[in-house]
Symmetry: D2
Subunit: 344 residues, 4 copies
């Protein structure tokens, strides 16, 4: 069975696993107060080019999102996102469970267009009854998006300017950030993100870690008592060192971006092969998630040889599928899958 189901189907990148094994016997203080967490934070600060960034670590992506959102939103505020945003679809209402409305706006290819945000905000404040509505308090973006697409520098700048103008915080869910930064199609660097955002996550789970996400708050932007809120949310790991050790490894010798580059390269090879084989793109993604439209019969046949996600129905007889590469994807598997797609 070929495995293109997702980028978290295997354990950790061998270098990450080795770091965990090498530090296993050390007696260290708990809750992220150890030297490895501090070392990882330092490397992340350097990576982001912001010596004043505050850094924290949690176990998973939904946890990261709901923790940051509920920490940065005032109680009468809602978060805005593209309708396809992960917080609006696949987090089981986690943000609402902390008391905040998620307001989905019409997206384009998984992204929230600046003009859509602007229209919403203008209309909100023009409405005479807006004090009876939840106030827009934050914009949530995912980069890469749930559809593998990427914001451009111009788009992010425009969104950030709107956020500043209307007193919204800007948060980027970077669960797959490594694949975005490593895409040859991207003009957006980590420095741009750090400069524009109030907070963003640097995903580990899907980019080579056993588990874990780093939360970055540029310019000393971590809200006071964030550790207490982390505990309150059940998101504080007793052996916080596990997160420090892993991110320390991921940000040593460029491992994080190397994992990203390799997976994106294979994904783009897969896309090229699929297009050559006459497949139709569901969306044109420049990152490690690729989406194709296939006949339902063909999909059923393909599922016997490869594991992947059925994305959504396209019409009566066709559906979109998603194929994902990761640190563990091997070139021979991509070639084997390409053969299958070519009908060999």
């Amino acid at each position: 069975m070929l495995f293109f189901q997702n980028d978290y189907s295997e354990g950790a990148h061998p270098q990450v696993l080795r770091a965990l094994a090498d530090t296993n016997a050390l007696s260290l203080p708990g809750y992220g107060t150890d030297e490895y967490c501090e070392r990882a934070a330092k490397k992340l600060r350097a990576f982001c080019g912001d010596a004043e960034a505050d850094v924290s670590f949690v176990s998973g992506g939904t946890q990261a999102n709901l923790l940051v959102l509920s920490a940065l939103l005032r109680r009468y505020e809602a978060v805005l996102c593209a309708g396809t945003g992960h917080i609006n679809t696949h987090e089981a209402g986690a943000v609402e469970f902390t008391g905040h409305k998620v307001i989905p706006l019409p997206g384009r290819e998984g992204k929230l267009p600046p003009e859509v945000l602007e229209a919403y905000l203008e209309r909100f404040y023009a409405d005479e009854t807006h004090s009876h509505m939840p106030f827009p308090g934050m914009v949530y973006l995912s980069h890469p998006t749930e559809l593998g697409t990427l914001y451009t520098k111009a788009e992010l700048s425009a969104l950030a300017a709107l956020c500043r103008r209307y007193d919204l915080r800007l948060y980027i869910d970077g669960a797959r950030l490594g694949y975005g930064l490593a895409s040859p199609a991207s003009d957006l660097g980590i420095g741009d993100i750090a400069a524009c955002c109030d907070a963003f996550s640097v995903g580990g789970t899907k980019v080579g870690a056993l588990f874990g996400e780093a939360l970055v708050f540029p310019r000393h932007g971590m809200p006071p008592h964030f550790d207490t809120m982390t505990k309150q949310q059940g998101a504080m790991l007793a052996k916080g060192r596990l997160l420090g050790v892993q991110f320390d490894a991921l940000f040593t010798d460029g491992l994080y971006l190397q994992i990203g580059r390799q997976a994106v390269e294979l994904a783009l090879e897969l896309k090229a092969a699929a297009l050559k084989a006459g497949l139709e793109l569901f969306i044109d993604s420049p990152t490690n998630q690729q989406f194709f439209v296939l006949d339902n019969g063909r999909i059923a046949a393909l599922r016997k040889e490869a594991a992947f996600n059925l994305w959504e129905p396209v019409d009566e007889r066709r559906s979109a599928i998603r194929l994902v590469t990761g640190w563990a994807t091997r070139r021979e598997d991509v070639e084997a899958l390409a053969d299958l797609l070519r009908g060999k």
Copy 2:
């Protein structure tokens, strides 16, 4: 100044006020355990034609909605409604503040079409990842809707059948119920509503009461310890008798429907006059809220003589306005407004 701003601009219908005055000196037990609450509940049971209906009372409409929704939803469930639903727009995120997602579906003239609901439910359960999404647990309808429109008996039956099939509860926000039941265009009786719904509110605030909404749970459907949840939500009135006395008065000698009929009659006269004067309908409402499209300049002029709501921009130079009648609207005011609309 002519007042067509809303149906809660004045105090109570004189008969309601008199009942409050007449019972003012009585010493009665608190929290809705008095005889007037029981008497009002009895009359509401008769009105609904359900001798087993459970009845409770609260102060206001948002309170009624958030209390019922958060009492009937399981914690992993969301409520579905038309995008224009009051809980989705003008309740400041009250439902989300109790932990539940509101999922807006595309409505039609303020209503949730059964086929839209069915498509959503089919797609939800067909989605392989649906256990990571909030489960649809309830359908919220307003009747009349926020746009003054009314569900037909066939529509409500179809929605109720879907709710039964997919284990959803069905709730109707009847903040303006009296105007719906009294509309000559309605084929939906209170008995149909009681038969179809798991809960509904019978609005008093907008239909002649000083304040107050009755909550009806047909077929002994009130959830256990509903009084404790009412207290927990800050929605329990110490002098609960105030609600009992008012609803007792409203449901004596047909006052509730009489108020509804009179206001709808005036609203329809206003619509007829406006159409005659060449105004364009924003939506064709058969109840006490009427919506017209006017030039922005005309609106500004009209606002000097009449109080009403600016509803929403229609295009660059025109907007929709809302005109509302209620128990306190006088025929001469309708005529004066009609004159204004005719440009006299």
Copy 3:
């Protein structure tokens, strides 16, 4: 049946009811934006001696408490109170339902002693693990307390000083404030309260209003968008004018304190008569709630002639009862009850 069950067994003081009737037909804007609310706010500012106090109105006491607490607490903060505090006992977990812990401290006669608060705070900050605990963010006092007792000026000053030192907000639940201010035993004026507190309520429901509590935030201390939070909590009354009109009446010509004085006078007469009749005090209350210890058999007999609260068991054969006076209590009823207590 003599009625000493509570101070909310009847409707409104006649002057309040008259004001509602007199303004009933006026067409006024909704949600507390009318002139009566503004007039009442102005009178309350004068009453408190703080021209910069922000004032808002809600329907009931639990609602007032949970709204202020959840608006003023940061999400990682808890509220401290005496174990007998209303929010800790009889609000069905309303504060916790908004996400905040209520930390009960050992009280004395219903009050939170400053030295108990200080010991808690010192110990909290000395604890090496305190970042894993909810932070103390507010002190909740009731004045009069649930046991009818009163804080002295010295006690309140000491508590306020601790709050300032440790960055806690100070809130007083004044559901029965009028009876405290009017007690001859009180050395604490409304000006002292306004000077010491970040917020307090001025109870109407139990002091002559049909319903309603005023919320006062001295020194422009109302948090931003408090109206939106009020709506979000289901605590905004559509016909907000009802609250404005009532408080306007209560604070015209000293009615509020006059109601308080009269009820306290009768309560103290009742206490004197009871002591004379050989009854034992459960607690020595200088306000409108009086507490006595009686044999259970005697209580059962008394309940046939008078309505009152069974407070709590004292030992195997005796219990405490509570007798409450209010605006509607008549001297002849007090005398009749005194006769009963004397065994006549």
Copy 4:
């Protein structure tokens, strides 16, 4: 530096770490749907002697507690526990953040005495106003307790009988369960726990795992859609296999109890040595946490050579300290510490 600070100062037991390494390259489905989770669940069912037990896994202890509590409590219910219970002290108000009150009852040596629980429940239901209070819905116990003590079989049976009588669920926080089951002083087996409880956790984080807790719901007692609630709480691990692999290893060849036995043995040796050296016990614990009373000066000196927790002040010049053993504690460290305590 000798390390007796806690039982989560090191990584994983070597056998657990090896299992993670051995399975690292496998492509497995996410979210706990893999074969290792199923295998671990099967072993836990066998361990508990309940073939019908439902089993789930989460990352940490606070997460386990708040997830189970908020899944099993109805919204108007509170959880009861000894005042020293972890949920009442060191979880930053996590349970309250999900909307439920934690009601602390007076404990004895960290335990909740059955007679205390019974007295509370009797008084609650005897109180005429109890419908205005949060209903007792669950009892939370920790075993071993936060003070290292253990419930006896008789105590647990008595508590369970009360829970059945009053419709309360019974939950045991087993963060250190292995040390309780392995204590020679315990007469309580895992089968007794499974028979008595509605849910309990089997702690991995503190008993040899890298991280992770198993949640056991005997007799098919897992609430419907528990996976969705897990996701909603941010507690679902994408690579759920990590938890399955670890618990599979811990419950292979009796590793879990072997870790427990070894640590308890060393703890009891430490206690014996300390008593011999004349130290005073703060509490007499039969498990891996030991508590002694020392002069503050002595504590300060000791802290230079050993890491441990300052527990709480005992009087002006003495405090309690806590010494903890775990899978990584070596006999020579215990001996070295014993030497220090003897003043060598």
